[in-house]
């Protein structure tokens, strides 16, 4: 450790973002870089723990604590502190295929479990990850590294989200011939169309895809397995298949007025927006505009936030975000101690932007939507919600209970449903005949193999809706198992 007292000597530097009122004028990335000295000091805040919780990726209380891909955080923090960026990059790249993505989009469970955060603000791990990755690309350290030897084994990866890409990169590194199938027109899955450009610039996704292509990965776009190509054909033509189709079935809100016009699934809204942006800088109009609308986003997660951010850039007239859970406390609750994921109140970028415009956080907590009210054109115009309290049910689980007499009606021209996802879409899975688990995700054994021999699954498709970083981890795990499967029990990959 370079600086034993770093955490005492330096304060945590807030993440440098462009000012909200400036950044909502465009779709460019909202992060600003940081001076090198600042970054090094931030690295110096790391205590190089004997037991670095940040490195572990354990589930405590159902939430990730520490880094799911087991980034060697203390090691690269120290190297950053010493100004050894290239070595830092080597250590970072050894566990994480796409730090340039996670450095931007990860909610950073590492920071939640950072030991400094027991009684001080956590080390800026995510900021440093992004900085190391950006520096590596800028310095030209990231070059295609095709495998020295090819095994001649053919592998198909279905879906090009973070799980599929990570698995493809790993399998290719092991020398297998990898083809990635993507039903969309662009590679990246959630990275491409799920996350808006200001959070993850699509140029970065393209850059990574090009690197992988240069290393020998083949990408096929616009082909949906199970539709354009029969699933069984893949099983026949490839020695192993990996399913990384995500958990794309959105949760719906079956209440009165749901069929009114102006109510959309969040992903449809975000997808169309990014596609139009990339195709035409939004000039082609092929997207849902929130301009001058009263927007209501239902759901307080990351997707909800992305809807808020996108709506702000559309110049919506007003914005309300509804969340069924109560407002989290500012500090950790007693039953949510460190190193668990801190369920505390945070102002994410979208809310921050709304607050900059209207002076307050757009979120309303502890409410449940009861009905949508339309106008004569059967277009939604209002929304009625009611306050809820959380009470323990007979099964011992907490559930929402309406509080009578608390109904409120708000204006709503555009409603975006961002209440999470229920699981994978089924057609391809049905064709393959893979077994599903009780939650409707693809069942796999510990090696990530499905009930069909040679067919593996990873990412949200088997895990259910989760974080990009879990998807990368799953992709790596699946790749290792598949390598073992293809190489008679031996593997050259690490999970």
């Amino acid at each position: 450790m370079g600086k034993p007292t770093g955490f005492l000597d330096y304060a945590r530097e807030p993440v440098h973002d462009r000012p909200p009122l400036e950044r909502i004028r465009d779709w460019e990335e909202m992060h600003l870089g940081c001076a090198e000295q600042t970054l090094r000091e931030q690295g110096g805040r790391c205590m190089d723990c004997g037991v670095p919780f940040c490195n572990t990726g354990k589930l405590f209380n159902g939430m990730a604590s520490g880094c799911p891909v087991n980034n060697l955080i203390p090691e690269w923090n120290d190297l950053v502190w010493r100004g050894r960026w290239k070595e830092a990059w080597t250590r970072l790249a050894s566990t994480n295929n796409f730090p340039e993505f996670t450095g931007r989009v990860c909610p950073a469970p590492c920071e939640g479990s950072c030991t400094v955060s027991i009684n001080l603000p956590a080390v800026n791990i995510k900021m440093l990850e992004e900085a190391i990755a950006d520096r590596a690309f800028a310095e030209g350290w990231v070059v295609p590294e095709p495998p020295p030897v090819r095994t001649g084994k053919r592998v198909a990866v279905v879906g090009s989200g973070p799980a599929g890409l990570a698995a493809a990169a790993q399998l290719n590194r092991a020398g297998h011939e990898v083809t990635v199938f993507e039903r969309d027109d662009r590679i990246g899955g959630l990275l491409m169309y799920g996350i808006p450009n200001m959070k993850l610039d699509k140029k970065l996704v393209d850059r990574r895809v090009k690197l992988m292509a240069d290393e020998g990965v083949r990408f096929v776009t616009g082909k949906e397995i199970g539709k354009d190509i029969p699933a069984m054909q893949l099983v026949r033509e490839f020695e192993a298949v990996l399913l990384c189709g995500g958990a794309t079935q959105a949760r719906d809100l079956p209440v009165e007025g749901r069929s009114l016009a102006g109510i959309y699934a969040a992903m449809d809204f975000l997808h169309a927006n990014t596609k139009s942006l990339l195709d035409s800088k939004l000039k082609n109009g092929n997207y849902l505009s929130a301009k001058d609308q009263h927007v209501v986003v239902i759901g307080g997660g990351d997707t909800g936030t992305d809807c808020v951010g996108t709506s702000m850039r559309h110049r919506c007239r007003s914005l309300t975000q509804l969340e069924i859970l109560p407002k989290p406390p500012d500090e950790r609750a007693p039953d949510n101690p460190w190193p668990q994921w801190p369920k505390t109140y945070k102002l994410d970028y979208g809310q921050d932007e709304a607050k900059a415009v209207w002076g307050k956080d757009p979120r309303v907590y502890g409410v449940m939507t009861k009905k949508f009210i339309g106008d004569k054109d059967r277009h939604v115009r209002e929304l009625l919600y009611v306050d809820v309290e959380w009470v323990k049910g007979p099964d011992g689980r907490f559930g929402p209970r309406e509080i009578p007499g608390t109904e409120k009606v708000i204006q709503a021209d555009l409603v975006l449903l961002a209440m999470g996802f229920l699981g994978p879409e089924k057609p391809m899975l049905t064709q393959l005949g893979v077994k599903l688990d009780e939650r409707g995700n693809v069942w796999t054994d510990q090696t990530k193999m499905t009930s069909v021999p040679g067919v593996f699954a990873a990412g949200d498709m088997s895990r259910g809706q989760s974080l990009v970083v879990w998807a990368i981890k799953e992709g790596r795990q699946a790749a290792q198992s598949m390598d073992r499967y293809l190489s008679y029990g031996e593997t050259v990959l690490t999970p």
Binding site: M47, C49, T56, F60, G66, I118, P147, V492
Partner: protein, 1536 residues
């Protein structure tokens, strides 16, 4: 007659681990006039040394006593006449003292052998004499094993040229007989023993205590038994097994101490036999081989070798100088001749290293030698009538003061000799210079001995290829962590890295990962029976130089004996290795000829290939020797895709033992050129198993790469130099832990224990190494090597690995090595204790205990044999009573914060357990209860080597006093609290200065030997009669034997710590590689205590990563009654295993003194209470299942454990726990748990019998008391009980000055006036033994010789070694010279003395010492505080002062001189010192000659404080401000 000797190895017991020590003495008439009076006097000496010996469970069975005399011819002539034997003239016959079996068949058979052998050797057997014995009231054990004792008389044959030749012949006869009998089937042959067989000396000895000797051997009472020389010895052994033969004296020596390098000495001696020839012995030489009888003790083996060297033509003192050389390589004041003598002889033989005072005699000369570090006491008197009395103590013989002309002590490395033929004492210098000039050693060296520095420079060695570095690192199993944590710090600072907390990763044999073979070996270390050495502060005695090249004939040395190459260190740079490679046998290379042999094998061939590669290698080595090569370089440089390196340790040890077996070992030297060794432990092993030197080429390349990456500053050459320095320093530290001071004697000494290697494997390649749980063999070793090789050279698909694997051995890493304390267990434990949830606690223990999937500890492989009839849990002893057996570990106030320290104390007091102060003292304010009834007073007060804050008041407030001998994380090492951590509040409690670093020495300077610990236990018991005294040991091979010794030394409790226990700061090497798991140490301890019938007298405690109820139950079943926890309670309080304790940056306020961080301390006593109660609850649940109602029933029931069946782990499946679970067969009445209180004999002390009564008025009414009493050396710890009574009643303030004043006349025993408080003055008119004023706590001690003494006081020794050790306050005035280590670790007394030995003021942290006469070497080593003033008589003081921490001032300020003058005036007044009066009478001249010795740090802090006060700050704030200013100066924060 019962079986005699030590029992065979069984369970974990190994007779090789036995130790003994003792008191010895001799009386001699300088003029060589034999008299019976000398015999009587020596027996009187023996009686007065009795307390240095021991008895076992039986009071009247001593460990052994004996006497060696000149053959009393007149007596024997008369006795033989009665038997019809006609004795020839003296010198024409020899007498043998023979122990025989009690069966007549056996006796006759042996008689027959005698007849036959004596005849065959051309001598005449004159006859036998039954030695008359009396009823000496021997104890049953001694009696049962008593041999039949007879004397044999052998007449000199006609063709024997002279007496010397006759003596040799007698030796040959004895050796032949010893060999014949031991190989025979004679019944009772194990009793056969020849105590002596000589024409000039005879030995009477046996299993006695001192008083029994003359009552048993009636001869000794005969007036005609006369001798001019009589040597006596009283033994203290670590066992109670009967052994008549192991009593001293041996044929030439009596020994007090221990040979630490014994294994190596035996190996080398064995090896060099093949090269021996002797004109004097001629063909007879073969008859005496092998020289060493390995069934003997270390002393006996020493005697064997000494005997050979002497009889083969060297005078006895010469042979002594060879075997126990004084430190010479760093001594600039030594004459070139003497240096050459030692250097020459170092080519012949390595030192027999260890603490020793050895008395020796050949019947004409008698003398004694002290080891190089002076670790044993030896005092002598010379009288007007030419009598010399030398003994382990002064005052062992009553001699009127006016008769004494000289009182002296043996000094480190010196020889004291009385030559009765010359009729005078021969002075050390004269003696050594004579031998040094006997041969032209210097010329021989110049002619034959090469030095590395003068060898021709090689052409540049091949440059490494950067690109392949990573690949090669992978082949040798490098990890990122090793490079970062081990190599980088060494290359940056030249020091080994420090870590904290213990180790919680799996043993190598339980790990899923391929571990280097090095990891299967654990370092042994010195504890109790011998001291570790302080390699840093006592550097003058250490030596890292070594030589390579073949050895010549030991017995007839000549110029060719030193045809060797001297190396300054055993680590070779690439350049140096290249130089060696060029040695081609030419004369200018003294015939040295090097050859390189590859140590590679085909990894695909697995174990078979490795085995045959080793065979091949051995064969090639033999071939090379035959071809005349004498330097063998074993190299793995040539490894590639098809050739994997043989583990370097396996390669070297395999060759080593091959050559030993072939008898060719000394014909060559082995050098290892390997990419594998990188950390200190690796180098230690390679050297310990036979490598003379090691070239770690890949470590060097790694260092260069780190420089290239800018992760290490400087040039590659500088970094490499620092790395080398760090390795050598670490190496010297490793050997010093074992009490060894020279690399040369560590070479091949094999001071390691294997854990997890199979017996076959060890026998073949690591012969004589102990490996007690079995484990892997060559197949798995090969598999592990292959796994590493495949990382570098993947067999199928090369994958671009861009960096090394993380590792995870030292710091947790996901996917790295498993840790018991990991994010999940930490979280669950904290959550459970915070919320008082037993359910969550059980989730935590499930993770800890379930090692079915992930092995980590030996106990993880144990299962319980459940009872067929479990008991209901309600019937089991309650939680409340179980927790009373629980303790928290010794964590000093200083290593952890006030908040953490007090929280632990409160918690343990709430539940009736005990917390432990650790070694940093304790704030007396904590002895008062809190308002709410809580108490912060720690139940256990530790007494460690630093003795910080060990005052009388501290001691009387303890429930248990713990002597910390060793600590699991760093056994054999001391500690250091850097100045930046000595905050004002820490300094106050430790009686030190804020901002000034504090050193805890590796050894207790009052425990160098087993009888010393008996003394300290006795001291502490006197200082607080209500407290139990416990001794803390660390698990290692032989710890059971040591525990038995500790039990015999009357400890109430012995604590066995696992190697894995925590630490605030310790070198990483020690955390991982020293000591063994507690399962082994505890089981061994219990077994050995039971075998010796000592278990019932001592409680056994265990600690070391105890984490769950299951751990406790296993501990109990293996024999423990009490349990210590440290990491667990700390985690409960919020510790998150940062492992940054040594950095003072603990983010949760536990291991830090920084007020900002302390404010973050989240702990509450209740969390610890919860932890302890949870553990106890789990214990109860297991007890119910096992069917035990009370805890005591469970202790030692190892039959209720079984090794888990069907372990399918690839390594662990080879383990075998039968020796751990072994139960020795012993008589029924032998206890298995502690049931009998130790007899401390407190009622027999002078205090109990006399002083307490005299002091009554002072104790009750503060009235002054005065008394004058006689005293002698058997009166030990005088004044201590009285002092403790004063403290008990009057607290730290004590009584008004001089309230109690006792005046003693005579020689005081050890620990005179220890710990005495304010208000007590002890006047001693006479002299004193060691440890006077130990821990002085405010009292005053005055010592002066009687007025009519026949010697000059300031030229003679008056107080012994280690005076005022750890004294915290008071005054001392000593008229005369003190021994070694005067005022060691003094932290507050003012003392005046008229001369001191070596190492005075060592580790001193406070107080004022005035020395009015000469001071010995290494003055002020490790001194960090206080001031000394030395009168520099010869102007050479500076050369004897250790200047690494102190500055010398020849100009002393007036104000200070006034203070010094006042002290001298008081000295003159109180002791009547003539010297003081003389000095005062010409004060101006005196004042000019004073040198002031002041530590740099101390001076800087005092100046800083003065500066702050000058700024107007009040004293306390000034102190803090000065401290903070100092702490900010990072340059000051120095490491070791």
């Amino acid at each position: 007659m019962a079986a005699t000797g030590l029992p065979p190895a069984q369970g974990l017991y190994d007779p090789k681990t036995e130790h003994d020590s003792c008191g010895f003495g001799f009386v001699a008439d300088i003029k060589g006039r034999p008299s019976h009076d000398i015999v009587l006097k020596s027996l009187e000496v023996l009686k007065n040394l009795e307390h240095r010996g021991a008895t076992g469970a039986e009071k009247n069975t001593g460990d052994g006593a004996g006497i060696l005399l000149q053959t009393p011819h007149a007596f024997f002539a008369q006795e033989c006449q009665k038997l019809g034997i006609k004795l020839p003239a003296p010198g024409r016959y020899g007498v043998g003292m023979v122990f025989l079996p009690d069966s007549e068949v056996g006796q006759n058979a042996i008689n027959g052998l005698f007849e036959e052998t004596v005849r065959a050797e051309g001598q005449h057997l004159l006859g036998w004499r039954e030695v008359p014995t009396g009823d000496a009231a021997l104890g049953p054990t001694a009696k049962a094993s008593q041999p039949v004792i007879r004397q044999v008389f052998i007449g000199r044959g006609d063709d024997v040229a002279d007496e010397a030749a006759f003596e040799r012949k007698l030796y040959v006869i004895r050796r032949l007989l010893e060999k014949k009998v031991s190989r025979s089937a004679i019944p009772g042959r194990s009793s056969f023993y020849v105590a002596s067989l000589s024409y000039k000396t005879i030995v009477y000895k046996g299993m006695f205590n001192a008083n029994q000797l003359r009552r048993f051997y009636l001869d000794l009472n005969q007036p005609s038994v006369v001798s001019a020389i009589a040597m006596v010895h009283q033994r203290f052994s670590t066992n109670t097994f009967p052994s008549w033969a192991r009593a001293h004296p041996y044929r030439y020596i009596s020994h007090n101490g221990e040979i630490n390098t014994l294994r190596g000495n035996i190996n080398w001696m064995h090896a060099r036999q093949a090269m021996m020839s002797s004109k004097l012995f001629g063909k007879d030489l073969l008859k005496i081989l092998t020289v060493i009888d390995t069934s003997g003790s270390d002393s006996a083996m020493f005697d064997n070798v000494l005997e050979l060297l002497h009889l083969a033509g060297r005078e006895l003192p010469h042979a002594m100088m060879m075997m126990v050389p004084e430190p010479w390589s760093r001594d600039d004041n030594m004459s070139p001749e003497r240096k050459a003598f030692y250097e020459f002889h170092s080519c012949l033989m390595e030192p027999w290293d260890g603490p020793a005072s050895i008395a020796f005699t050949d019947g004409i000369r008698v003398g004694a030698v002290l080891d190089r570090n002076g670790l044993r006491p030896a005092r002598y008197y010379v009288t007007r009538d030419d009598l010399v009395v030398m003994a382990s103590e002064a005052g062992v013989l009553d001699i009127p003061p006016e008769q004494v002309v000289r009182k002296g002590r043996l000094q480190p490395g010196r020889i004291f000799l009385v030559d009765t033929s010359l009729q005078r004492i021969v002075d050390d210098d004269e003696l050594k210079d004579r031998y040094a000039r006997e041969a032209p050693y210097g010329e021989w060296l110049k002619k034959s001995m090469l030095q590395m520095s003068t060898l021709p420079r090689p052409s540049r060695p091949p440059l490494p290829e950067r690109e392949s570095l990573l690949k090669r690192q992978q082949v040798f199993g490098y990890t990122f962590e090793e490079v970062k944590l081990l190599i980088t710090p060494m290359a940056t600072t030249g020091n080994e890295a420090v870590g904290s907390m213990g180790t919680d990763t799996p043993l190598a044999v339980l790990s899923d990962r391929p571990r280097p073979l090095f990891d299967y070996f654990k370092q042994l270390f010195a504890q109790v029976t011998n001291p570790a050495v302080d390699a840093i502060r006592e550097e003058i005695i250490m030596a890292s130089d070594t030589t390579i090249g073949p050895e010549a004939n030991l017995l007839e040395p000549g110029p060719e004996s030193c045809r060797q190459l001297g190396l300054p260190t055993p680590i070779l740079t690439n350049d140096e290795l290249a130089k060696i490679r060029r040695l081609d046998g030419r004369p200018e290379f003294s015939g040295l000829r090097a050859v390189k042999l590859p140590t590679l094998y085909n990894p695909k061939g697995d174990g078979a290939a490795l085995r045959s590669a080793l065979e091949d290698l051995r064969w090639k080595v033999s071939e090379c020797l035959a071809e005349g090569f004498n330097v063998i370089v074993l190299s793995d440089r040539g490894h590639d895709a098809d050739n994997a390196p043989i583990p370097s340790l396996l390669a070297v040890s395999s060759v080593q033992h091959h050559l030993i077996r072939e008898g060719k070992r000394t014909q060559c030297s082995l050098i290892v050129e390997s990419g594998e060794p990188r950390e200190v432990h690796h180098f230690a092993l390679l050297i310990g198993y036979g490598a003379s030197a090691v070239n770690p080429y890949l470590a060097f390349e790694t260092v260069h790469d780190l420089v290239a990456q800018e992760l290490v500053p400087g040039t590659p050459a500088e970094a490499e130099k620092k790395y080398l320095k760090g390795v050598v320093k670490g190496l010297v530290k490793v050997i010093s832990k074992m009490g060894i001071s020279t690399i040369q004697s560590y070479h091949g000494a094999q001071v390691f224990e294997a854990v997890g290697l199979s017996q076959d494997f060890v026998d073949e390649y690591f012969t004589w190494t102990s490996s007690r749980v079995g484990g892997i063999g060559i197949d798995v070793v090969a598999h592990e090597a292959r796994m590493r090789h495949e990382r570098g050279f993947p067999p199928k698909r090369p994958v671009v690995a861009s960096s090394l694997p993380a590792g995870g051995e030292y710091q947790y890493r996901a996917g790295g090595e498993f840790h018991l304390t990991n994010p999940e267990t930490i979280h669950k434990l904290q959550y459970a204790c915070r919320t008082n949830s037993y359910k969550v606690f059980q989730e935590y223990t499930a993770l800890i205990d379930d090692q079915s999937k992930q092995l980590c500890t030996l106990r993880g492989l144990m299962d319980f044999r459940h009872a067929t009839h479990p008991v209901r849990i309600e019937e089991v002893e309650p939680v409340e009573s179980i927790v009373k057996r629980f303790k928290t570990g010794a964590m000093s106030y200083g290593s952890i914060s006030k908040e953490a320290h007090e929280t632990l104390a409160i918690a343990m007091n709430r539940i009736g357990g005990k917390s432990n102060t650790g070694e940093g003292g304790e704030d007396p304010a904590r002895y008062q209860n809190e308002q709410n009834g809580d108490s912060k007073n720690s139940g256990i007060k530790q007494v460690a080597s630093g003795r910080f804050g060990v005052t009388s008041y501290y001691l009387v407030n303890a429930r248990e006093l713990q002597i910390k001998i060793a600590q699991g994380a760093k056994p054999g090492e001391g500690g250091q609290l850097p100045g930046a951590k000595v905050y004002p509040w820490i300094a106050t409690v430790r009686h030190a200065t804020p901002g000034v670093g504090l050193i805890s020495p590796p050894p207790h300077h009052d425990i160098y030997s087993i009888e010393d610990i008996a003394e300290l236990i006795h001291d502490l018991k006197n200082a607080n009669r209500d407290a139990r005294v416990s001794v803390k040991l660390v698990s290692e091979l032989g710890v059971g034997t040591i525990a038995a010794g500790v039990a015999k030394a009357h400890a109430d409790t012995v604590l066995i710590s696992g190697y894995d226990g925590g630490t605030g700061a310790s070198p990483l090497t020690s955390i991982k590689h020293a000591g063994i798991p507690w399962e082994l140490g505890l089981a061994e301890t219990h077994q050995v205590l039971v075998m010796n019938d000592l278990r019932s007298r001592i409680r056994v405690e265990v600690d070391g990563q105890l984490k769950s109820g299951r751990d406790v139950v296993i501990g109990a079943l293996l024999g423990a009654e009490e349990f210590g926890f440290s990491t667990g309670p700390l985690i409960a309080l919020g510790c998150i295993m940062m492992r940054a304790c040594h950095l003072n940056t603990c983010p949760v306020g536990i291991a830090t003194q920084d007020p900002k961080l302390r404010a973050k301390f989240p702990g509450d006593p209740q969390q610890v209470v919860n932890f302890m109660r949870f553990v106890a609850q789990e214990v109860r649940e297991y007890m119910a299942e096992l069917g035990f109602r009370t805890f005591d029933e469970m202790v030692g029931r190892s039959e209720r454990i079984e090794m888990r069946r069907a372990v399918d782990h690839w390594k662990a499946r080879n383990l075998d726990f039968s020796r751990i679970l072994f139960k020795p067969t012993v008589p029924k009445h032998y206890g298995r748990t502690c049931s009998i209180a130790q007899d401390h004999a407190l009622e027999k002390t002078l205090d109990s019998t006399t002083l307490l009564a005299l002091a009554r008025p002072a104790l009750d009414e503060r009235k002054p008391v005065r008394a004058t009493l006689p005293i002698r050396n058997t009166n030990r710890v005088v004044g201590v009980q009285t002092g403790s009574e004063v403290t008990r009643r009057y607290g730290p303030a004590g009584l008004p000055d001089d309230t109690i004043r006792f005046h003693f006349k005579g020689s005081a025993g050890q620990s005179f006036g220890a710990f005495i408080p304010k208000g007590m003055t002890l006047v001693l008119e006479g002299d004193s033994n060691d440890y006077i004023g130990k821990g002085l706590s405010g009292g005053r001690i005055i010592v002066f010789p009687p007025e009519k003494a026949g010697f000059v006081p300031e030229e003679n020794i008056i107080v012994g070694n280690v005076a005022f050790y750890g004294a915290t306050g008071g005054e001392a005035f000593i008229r005369g010279v003190a021994g070694e280590r005067f005022c060691v670790r003094n932290s507050g007394i003012d003392a005046v003395v008229e001369g001191v030995g070596d190492h005075a003021c060592e580790y001193m942290t406070g107080g004022r010492v005035v020395v009015l006469g000469p001071a010995g070497r290494n003055f002020a080593a490790g001194m960090s505080g206080g001031v000394a003033y030395v009168l520099d008589g010869d102007g050479k003081f500076e050369s004897r002062c250790n200047l690494s921490m102190v500055g010398l001032d020849r100009k002393v300020e007036e104000a200070e001189l006034t203070l010094v003058k006042r002290m001298i005036e008081r000295h003159a007044e109180l002791t009547g010192s003539a010297l003081a009066s003389r000095l005062l009478s010409r004060w101006e001249d005196t004042a000019r000659r004073f040198v002031r010795i002041m530590p740099h740090d101390y001076r800087r802090m005092l100046e800083a404080q003065a500066k702050m006060r000058a700024k107007g700050l009040p004293p306390e704030e000034a102190e803090m401000a000065a401290f903070l200013e100092n702490a900010r100066d990072e340059a000051r924060v120095s490491g070791n």
